[in-house]
């Protein structure tokens, strides 16, 4: 089997095994130090194509911007043009150092976006996989259900047959009419079964698929416990464990234990009193009121 190295000098598999068993070694053609890892199996007969595929794979990993990352179509097209230029240069070995510099510069400038797009891609793949899993499960479920139904149907048919035989034995009615009646019954039951089964399956699979599709549009955000900014003066007081409070003394003593058992908390009343007292502190007194006695 022919194997291709990254610098285009290909070897057969047995030669590579022979040359590189003892670690890195110079290439017999150009004396460049190589490792076995640098050789990949050749997919295409035409080496040009093989190289282009390798280059494009490498470029796609980093130049992964999407249309929505650009303000308008024009700049997106310019970007695509640039990517194509770079790819062309790499494939045809034109201005390699300059091109590599361009790639490095791009990588520096867009590190965050590249990372984000990699994540987006991963998420999309994960969703696809989840959806596939769900569908596979559904198929298995459906197959099991079908088997169960078939089994039931078979048992039922068996039962009907037995009943018919019993009836024919004991009843004095016309035999052909009894047979016809039992046939009609069986037919009716079978059709009812098949429609019911079809309905129940179709709906749940469709629903699951539509939910999975939604997931790609609006992302779920991590939980944030409180989302309002309503100020409750919590930074302006510290609730103590105990207060000198004659009004609530009986409640706190709680001789019968019913306050405690019912869950009443004197602390909640204290906190309310405190907050009410503090809430008015920053309000300036109304102006223009004459002080009494002056």
């Amino acid at each position: 089997m022919v194997i291709l190295s990254r610098h285009d000098h290909h070897r057969c598999e047995s030669c590579i095994d022979r040359l590189f068993t003892l670690g890195p070694a110079p290439c017999p053609v150009c004396n460049k130090i190589l490792r076995k890892l640098a050789f990949t199996p050749q997919t295409f007969e035409d080496l040009e194509v093989e190289k282009e595929v390798a280059v494009r794979r490498r470029i796609a990993k980093e130049f992964n911007k999407r249309m929505e990352d650009f303000p308008d179509l024009r700049s997106y097209n310019d970007y695509l043009e640039e990517v194509e230029d770079i790819t062309f240069n790499l494939i045809h070995d034109i201005e390699i150092p300059e091109t590599e510099a361009r790639i490095a510069a791009y990588r520096r400038e867009n590190a965050a976006l590249i990372e984000l797009n990699i994540q987006r891609e991963e998420q999309y793949n994960r969703l696809l996989k989840e959806q596939e899993d769900a569908e596979r499960q559904e198929r298995e479920h459906r197959a099991a259900e079908l088997r169960r139904l078939e089994e039931e149907e078979r048992e039922e048919r068996e039962k009907e047959r037995q009943e018919l035989i019993d009836k024919l034995e004991t009843s004095d009615k016309d035999a052909t009419r009894l047979v016809a009646k039992s046939r009609a019954d069986a037919l009716r039951r079978a059709s009812a079964r098949s429609t019911a089964a079809a309905n129940s399956f179709q709906s749940s699979s469709k629903l699951l698929r539509s939910r999975a599709a939604q997931n790609t549009i609006v992302p779920d955000a991590p939980h944030v416990p409180l989302q309002d900014d309503w100020y409750a003066y919590e930074d302006m007081y510290i609730l103590r464990d105990n207060y000198e409070d004659p009004a609530s003394e009986a409640v706190r003593r709680d001789r019968e234990g019913i306050m405690k058992a019912g869950g009443y908390r004197v602390e909640e009343a204290w906190e309310r009193a405190l907050r009410s007292a503090i809430a008015g502190l920053e309000i300036m007194p109304a102006e223009g009121i004459r002080t009494v006695g002056s």
């Binding site: 997931n215 779920d220 416990p225 309503w230 019913i258 019912g262 869950g263 908390r265 309310r272």
Partner: protein
């Protein structure tokens, strides 16, 4: 026309009533629009003057507390005005409620959806508790869902502020299936923990898609709770035998939650069990619940816009459950709701799927 009348007339002019969408003993609900913006709203017209006691208690409570609360997860009271002898509350218009979502068998819930609804419920309730208000009637049908998927706590007809030390509160609050054991034992001094129990029941209901603790009478409710969670011992709940209406109900063993909620994650069951702790003082608080690992674990809570919702129906039969609080009452004060004359109201409507409005109508005639 004096200044007050003029101000009232100006307010009234901001809203245009469109269509009646529900009627009860105490209130009629209309769909309406804000004239300036075209925004959809609901107007709840409270009938005054035909009752000798004056304004309905639940209407007073509703105005009193909703005026104070403004939060993304609490229904917004936009305006209040009077027309002739009636009081009109202008409320946010909301599409559906969590009960309808739970009952709609064509919807599939993901674990992330349940997490999202629970987070929104806890956020709304935390805001009420931060403002020293007990809701006292949490149930799926009072958790309304806006068109963008956001959940909002509604129906403050049984709400009250925290009692001062030593002042009694009524124990005849909270719809039975969501009522905590301390209220069933007749406790008159309680706290925010009563609402947490209701949220725990709703949490379980979201996973089971059927009410978790459906007792048929107050006594049976306690038995149902004990059958599910085991009879509490003095260690589980110190002092509960001294509560006013305590009666021994026999010993039931505790079955692990895991047996019933087979698909739930460990975090999820941990939070559920903390909402359903017998001793009210040890039950989790809204703040602690919102910081529970369940909410931070993967999967992230679903974005509200992706939450499952029943398909839109013909507009005339549109249920607006904000009306519920007043519609159900039959004039016996707040206790009525907890002890509805038609005890199996929800069952009746659940038996005939989709005939919700009919079940309601039957209810009305009974009260008339």
């Amino acid at each position: 026309m004096d200044a007050v009348e003029k101000a009232n007339a100006d307010r009234q002019k901001r809203w245009a009533k469109e269509q009646k969408i529900g009627e009860g003993t105490y209130a009629v609900v209309y769909r309406a629009r804000e004239i300036a913006t075209g925004r959809r709203v609901a107007i709840k017209k409270i009938k005054v003057g035909q009752f000798k006691d004056g304004l309905d208690m639940s209407a007073i409570r509703e105005v009193k507390y909703l005026r104070e609360l403004k939060h993304p997860n609490v229904i917004e009271l936009l305006d209040v005005f009077s027309s002739k002898t009636n009081l009109n509350l202008v409320l946010e218009f909301l599409d559906t409620d969590l009960e309808l979502v739970i009952k709609d068998r064509s919807l599939v819930f993901l674990p992330a959806d349940i997490k999202s609804w629970m987070a929104m419920t806890f956020r709304g309730l935390e805001f009420c508790h931060r403002n020293f208000i007990l809701h006292r009637d949490l149930k799926p049908n009072n958790l309304l869902i806006a068109s963008d998927g956001k959940l909002k706590i509604a129906d403050f007809g049984l709400a009250r502020d925290f009692a001062d030390p030593g002042y009694k509160m009524t124990c005849q609050v909270i719809t039975r299936w969501y009522r905590p054991p301390e209220l069933l034992f007749g406790c008159r001094y309680y706290s925010t923990a009563v609402d947490i129990w209701s949220v725990g029941c709703i949490f379980a209901e979201l996973m089971l898609r059927t009410p978790y603790l459906p007792g048929e009478s107050d006594m049976d409710q306690l038995k149902t709770i004990f059958r599910a969670l085991g009879t509490p011992t003095e260690d589980d709940w110190p002092g509960h035998t001294k509560l006013p209406d305590y009666v021994p109900l026999g010993q039931f063993p505790r079955t692990p939650l895991r047996d019933l909620f087979t698909a739930a994650s460990a975090d999820c069951l941990n939070l559920l069990s903390k909402c359903l702790i017998y001793e009210p003082r040890r039950r989790i608080s809204t703040k602690d619940a919102l910081n529970h690992p369940y909410f931070f674990a993967l999967p992230y809570p679903s974005h509200p816009s992706k939450l499952p919702k029943p398909a839109a129906k013909a507009n005339s039969s549109h249920p607006l459950d904000e009306v519920d609080g007043n519609v159900d009452l039959s004039g016996l004060g707040p206790g009525v709701k907890a002890n509805p004359p038609n005890k199996l109201k929800r069952k009746v409507s659940s038996d005939e799927l989709g005939s919700r409005s009919i079940a309601r109508r039957l209810d009305f005639t009974q009260h008339r």
